[in-house]
């Protein structure tokens, strides 16, 4: 019995926006899509129940033939009946299981597709608010819980009561007094099973917590392994881990103890019933009030009912968990994407590349009580020119860059591309012609070539190689085990920070965009390579719009226009020389960095000289 206990660990994530009713309504919409499955299944279940009751009666009937010493032909006739009904029941059983499980899998499939489609629609502001772990838990654990609800739980919740009604009716008809005695413990047992189930749930939550603590400790030790080793702390950390490990072990023993009660109690239920049949039913037979056949029929029923009864407690828990999970899924599916296709898009298919910000104020809605990220930013980048954006950490540089491809929602009338409000440009057009290289240079688990061709999956190999060349990546490719076909990303070869950044750059270059936005893209690339990339970009992007965001002054030196951001405001603007002469923040940044970077350059000269 493996109740999906892990799902509950993540149940405490967000306030419930949409209620249970909305969740059930959504689930109902999935269910009605499969009328055939559920319709046929209901019919099969009813037929199976009839077969089940009949088998019990036929067993008794056939055994009675033996007990009474009837002729072999008569016994054979009864056995043939029995076999026929058994065979029919087995077939029905097969279908009753497959139909409902298949329906559950279909629903799981649709649910998962809808979730994924929703994830693709949701904007960056959503991903700032929701944690990856929470989203994943909804896509993995919660769809699982809903699938269990729609499968095993539905099967038992609907089938078991029908079985009960049919069996009780038959038993009452045969021997009402015995039926009452025998069946009395069954409903009681459901309560006992539920109580144990709750204990199990309690302990498994504790165990999950314990596991969480153990992983936190491990994570901490691995992250701090340099300190652990440098200070010979292995013994200390081991003792700390032992504490967590022992606590986890204690909880697991608690879980084992609670779980262990289940099988024992389960076998007591039919045992009690059979001893009652023995004394009461046996007495009735001796007294001539009951047939020997019924002894067997009753025994057959009590054993066959034990298992469905036994799992009822678990099934009820499945329903509860499934409902909670559906609610969490519904919550995610109910989020309205704040960035969508404009209702009246301006039909533009190509961009020249002019960018304009008009008195732009911007505040992330995710973090409450935070200062606006941008204040009163007005700026025009003529098509084909280069804009440099500098400033210290938190000045708003990345925010400004992210607004150009509309990663975050802005009010109307604030950001324009080619003179058109970006909220009115078709999203696909906008993003096809703007290539942004984000700071974190995330790569997917695919080959290097596939990563470079991410925005143009059908790009020919020659273009992929050219993009790599331009991003100064080509010579690194030669060192990879399979060249362009090397698997990279989280599950592949680990590239260095600089290599990842250059791959991300190649991924943008292959799009041949009208506007290229570089968000501190080359921070991990050494100065020499950076200069080479710069030369390449100058050549390739002559006549196109480039926005370079950097905390390093050297990266924006050659820009047609440089703005300096401080606390979300543009505090200085102009060309490199002008800003240096002005002697403000830019000049200061420039000198400070010259000292650090100069060190590298001076040393490079010295090294070359020696």
């Amino acid at each position: 019995m493996g109740p999906a206990l892990s799902a509950s660990a993540a149940t405490v994530a967000l306030p419930r926006v949409s209620g249970a009713r909305s969740a059930w309504r959504r689930l109902a919409r999935y269910i009605v899509r499969h009328p055939v499955y559920y319709g046929v299944w209901t019919a099969v279940t009813l037929a199976y129940t009839a077969g089940f009751v009949a088998v019990g009666r036929l067993v008794g009937w056939a055994v009675e033939g033996v007990a009474k010493g009837l002729p072999h032909a008569e016994v054979s006739r009864r056995v043939v009946w029995l076999v026929a009904v058994i065979a029919g029941s087995a077939v029905l059983r097969f279908y009753s299981r497959t139909l409902v499980f298949n329906a559950a899998r279909e629903i799981e499939y649709e649910l998962r597709n809808d979730l994924f489609a929703q994830l693709l629609r949701l904007p960056q502001s959503f991903y700032g608010r929701w944690r990856t772990g929470d989203i994943m838990s909804r896509c993995v654990n919660d769809t699982n819980a809903v699938r269990l609800l729609m499968g095993v739980a539905v099967l038992n919740i609907l089938q078991t009561p029908v079985l009960y009604v049919a069996v009780v009716a038959t038993m009452l008809a045969r021997n009402a007094r015995l039926a009452l005695f025998v069946l009395l413990p069954y409903p009681l047992f459901i309560l006992v099973a539920r109580a144990i189930g709750r204990r199990v749930h309690h302990w498994s939550l504790l165990t999950q917590e314990g596991l969480g603590e153990a992983s936190n400790q491990l994570q901490e030790v691995i992250s701090g392994i340099a300190v652990v080793k440098a200070y010979a702390m292995e013994g200390v950390t081991r003792r700390r881990f032992d504490q967590v490990n022992d606590a986890l072990w204690q909880r697991q023993l608690g879980l084992v103890r609670t779980n262990a009660a289940m099988p024992g109690i389960t076998l007591l239920l039919p045992a009690l019933a059979v001893s009652l049949i023995l004394v009461i039913g046996g007495g009735d037979i001796v007294a001539g009030r009951m047939e020997v056949a019924d002894f067997f029929t009753f025994s057959f029923y009590v054993f066959q009912l034990a298992f469905p009864t036994f799992i009822m407690g678990w099934v009820v828990a499945l329903v509860q968990r499934g409902a909670a999970s559906m609610q969490r899924i519904d919550e995610l599916l109910s989020v309205t994407p704040s960035i969508a296709e404009p209702r009246d898009p301006v039909p533009i298919s190509a961009l020249r590349g002019e960018i304009e910000f008009r008195h732009l104020d911007f505040r992330y809605d995710s973090s409450d009580a935070r200062e606006p990220a941008l204040r009163d930013v007005s700026l025009r980048v003529p098509a084909g020119t280069t804009l440099g954006v500098v400033g210290s950490v938190g000045a708003g540089k990345t925010t400004l860059a992210s607004l150009i491809p509309r990663l975050f929602e802005v009010e109307d009338g604030k950001v324009f591309v080619d003179g058109v409000d970006i909220n009115r440009l078709p999203l696909a057009t906008l993003r096809r012609h703007i290539a942004m290289v984000p700071q974190d240079s995330f790569l997917f688990s695919a080959t290097l070539a596939q990563n470079i061709a991410f925005g143009r999956p059908d790009a020919p190999r020659a273009e992929i190689e050219r993009a790599a060349q331009r991003a100064q990546l080509a010579k690194d490719v030669a060192d990879l085990p399979n060249g362009y076909d090397t698997l990279v990303g989280e599950r592949g070869v680990m590239l260095s920070g600089g290599q990842r950044q250059r791959t991300a750059l190649a991924r943008a270059l292959i799009l041949e965009p009208s506007i290229l936005v570089l968000d501190d893209t080359l921070s991990a690339v050494d100065a020499e390579t950076e200069a080479a990339i710069q030369r390449e970009l100058d050549a390739v992007f002559r006549g196109r719009t480039v926005v370079v965001v950097s905390s390093r002054v050297s990266a924006v030196r050659g820009a047609d226009q440089i703005v300096v951001l401080h606390d979300g405001r543009i505090v200085e603007r102009g060309r490199h020389e002008e800003l240096l002469r002005a002697g403000g923040l830019y000049a200061r940044l420039s000198r400070e960095q010259a000292a650090e970077q100069g060190a590298a350059e001076e040393l490079a000269l010295a090294g070359a000289g020696s």
């Binding site: 989203i135 490990n245 023995l278 037979i285 085990p481 989280e490 200061r588 001076e602």
Partner: protein, 633 residues
């Protein structure tokens, strides 16, 4: 650090990629043998559960026999008027005189069932707790191994995967006890026992009953193969789906920026449908297995009844019903157990793979620490022609050297500074001194002994290292300074904190030294964290200090304190400091300038300035920078 692209070997990359996809055998004797040392301490419990099989079998089989007695000796004779068969009641089944025999039998029946329940409970308890206890030990072993592995290993394997080894994988192996191998073994023994008992009761009837068994065994084996294949593809597919979703969620910005939505929707749908179809297939096999076992047990019933006519009494039929049902139950959840076994074995394999990874930095046999001399006389550090690379094994071509032929000597109590651009190898150099990595060529000596001939723990008692990014553990400030060294009491903690000028800020905190460190020190400023790490290093009591000064601009408030702290920390020790601000090091005994892994200049501050080389130019630049920022603020 930034120098090397630490490309792991092709093999480990493959392992990383296909990890979730390798789903090997459900039974692997080699792995079970490896697991034995973890189970061995609990062999008494294991033996006990095996011995438990016998009473359990008795308690499981007896009740049906009791019903048989009631049927054959009391009920059926009364109903048919035929005489009861020969043979007496078995011992305890005979009711005491004056006691209604049926009531007595029912009581005994229930008593046996209670005993069965009690034994089952005990059995489950022992089995489960043995498994969990063994797993606790296994978890500790994984933890130890992680701490033994050298630092380079952690550059190539993601943290999450290592955490999984000690948590989820170990949990999976524990399943082997409750639902896997052990349960399977016991099931087989139980089935054997039941079969023997049936033959003892009525050999002819038993042989008829078992006519169906070979058929069902073949069917079960066939379905098992099918289910196994189906399960394998399901696991591969669900792992793929989860990885894909995870990756898309993490990289959603890129997905949207590059308008990959239509393509990814298609790709996802294909994966999702694949997964569903694999399930639909497995459901079919699983339901078929279910139905087949059902059918078989019912057919057995029919065969028994049919053949019993004239051969056996009603009671015997009852016994056969009951026992055959027990015989078939384990067959039913065979497929579930099988898949549990598979994933347990796969986890087991992964765990042992980790445990088998030899640590690259190991103590030599017979490693012994040299005697520590008096303060100021011990702690001489010498680098002799040291070469180092992070890259894979040397050989293929000229490796990407991070340090090239570095030689220098620091006398006891001397203070030296390392200067150089990012990537010149400074940080690497101090990591080598603590033996976080081993040198590739040449050697490093402390007090004249190669550090590879020291036990690592002794070496690290003598060398205190302060890294740029200060790592604080969860716990209090005092705990982070003392690092649970018994000789560092609360007073000593305060003394060292005072010495490095950390005391003033700690005392201003509401809980003082008992303030909890949150999220790796997120509740302290960079400067405060530095001060704490100085206190920690001082409390360590080493006579060699290696220090990587923080580059990140520290708040001006603590800046001055940090400078004083560094000076206090270096007092009386052999100190090697990486300096980013040249102002810190004007009074050190010697300055070494590193460039691309080579030492290019060395001397005292004044000498180097006078020489007019690289150092002089660097110094001029920094002074200019300071002048400007001072003017601006």
């Amino acid at each position: 650090m930034s120098a090397a692209a630490r490309a792991p070997t092709a093999g480990s990359a493959r392992e990383a990629l296909f990890e979730e996809e390798t789903l090997g055998k459900a039974y692997d004797a080699r792995l079970l043998r490896r697991l034995w040392p973890f189970v061995a301490p609990y062999r008494r419990q294991v033996t006990l559960t095996i011995l438990f099989l016998f009473p359990l079998l008795l308690f499981e089989l007896a009740p049906a026999w009791i019903v048989k007695t009631g049927l054959d000796h009391i009920i059926v004779p009364a109903a048919t008027g035929k005489p009861a068969p020969e043979g007496a009641f078995l011992g305890p089944l005979r009711a005491p005189s004056g006691f209604p025999p049926l009531l007595w039998l029912a009581g005994v029946y229930f008593a046996f069932s209670m005993a069965n329940g009690a034994f089952t409970y005990l059995d489950e308890m022992i089995m489960g707790s043995t498994g969990q206890s063994a797993m606790r030990d296994l978890r500790a072993a994984v933890f130890d191994q992680l701490q033994r592995l050298h630092i380079g290993y952690f550059d190539t394997v993601p943290v999450g995967r290592l955490v999984t080894r000690a948590t989820n994988d170990v949990e999976n192996v524990a399943e082997m006890f409750s639902a896997g191998f052990v349960a399977l073994m016991r099931d087989v023994l139980r089935m054997l026992g039941i079969a023997v008992a049936l033959f003892l009761v009525n050999a002819r009837l038993a042989s008829y009953a078992f006519l169906v068994v070979p058929v069902i065994a073949v069917i079960a084996a066939l379905f098992r193969l099918k289910v196994r294949a189906a399960f394998r593809s399901i696991r591969v597919r669900i792992a793929r789906i989860n990885a894909y979703v995870q990756e898309n969620v993490t990289g959603m910005k890129v997905v949207q920026l590059f308008t990959r939505e239509p393509r990814n929707t298609r790709d996802f749908d294909a994966m999702n449908a694949d997964h569903r179809d694999a399930w639909l297939q497995s459901i079919r096999y699983d339901a078929a297995l279910f139905a087949a076992v059902d059918l078989a047990s019912s057919l057995t019933t029919a065969v028994v009844i049919w053949q019993a006519a004239g051969l056996a009494a009603a009671g015997t039929i009852y016994v056969f019903f009951d026992w055959m049902r027990r015989f078939y139950t384990p067959l039913r959840d065979l497929s579930a157990k099988y898949s549990v076994m598979q994933s347990s074995m796969a986890s087991c394999e992964r765990i042992f793979q980790l445990l088998d990874t030899p640590p690259a930095v190991q103590d030599r046999p017979g490693a012994r620490a040299p005697e520590r001399g008096p303060l100021g006389r011990s702690g001489a550090v010498e680098f002799e022609h040291v070469w180092f690379t992070y890259g894979a094994k040397q050989g293929e071509k000229e490796p990407d050297w991070v340090l090239r032929d570095v030689s220098f000597r620091v006398e006891p109590g001397e203070r030296v500074a390392l200067v150089g651009a990012t990537g010149s190898g400074k940080t690497t150099l101090i990591k080598l001194l603590s033996r976080l990595y081993d040198v590739r060529r040449g050697r490093i000596l402390i007090d004249g002994v190669d550090i590879r001939d020291w036990p690592q723990s002794a070496l690290r008692q003598r060398v205190a290292m302060v890294l740029q990014d200060v790592f604080l553990f969860s716990g209090t400030i005092a705990e982070n300074i003392a690092l649970e060294r018994p000789e560092v009491g609360p007073e000593e903690v305060r003394r060292v904190a005072e010495a490095v000028h950390a005391d003033s800020f700690v005392r201003r905190l509401p809980a003082g030294y008992d303030t909890l460190v949150r999220e790796r020190g997120g509740n302290f400023s960079a400067g405060q964290r530095q001060l704490l790490s100085f206190a920690r290093a001082l409390a360590h009591g080493a006579d060699v200090l290696v220090l990587d000064e923080a580059t990140s601009s520290i708040d001006t408030e603590t800046e001055a304190l940090v400078q004083q702290g560094i000076h206090a920390l270096m007092q009386g020790k052999t100190a090697i400091a990486i300096a980013h601000r040249l102002s810190t090091i004007e009074d050190v005994d010697r300055i070494y300038v590193l460039h691309r892994g080579r030492l290019v200049e060395s001397g005292r501050h004044a000498e180097l300035l006078a020489r007019g080389g690289v150092y002089e130019r660097l110094h001029r630049l920094q002074m200019a920078g300071r002048g400007v920022s001072a003017a601006a603020s």
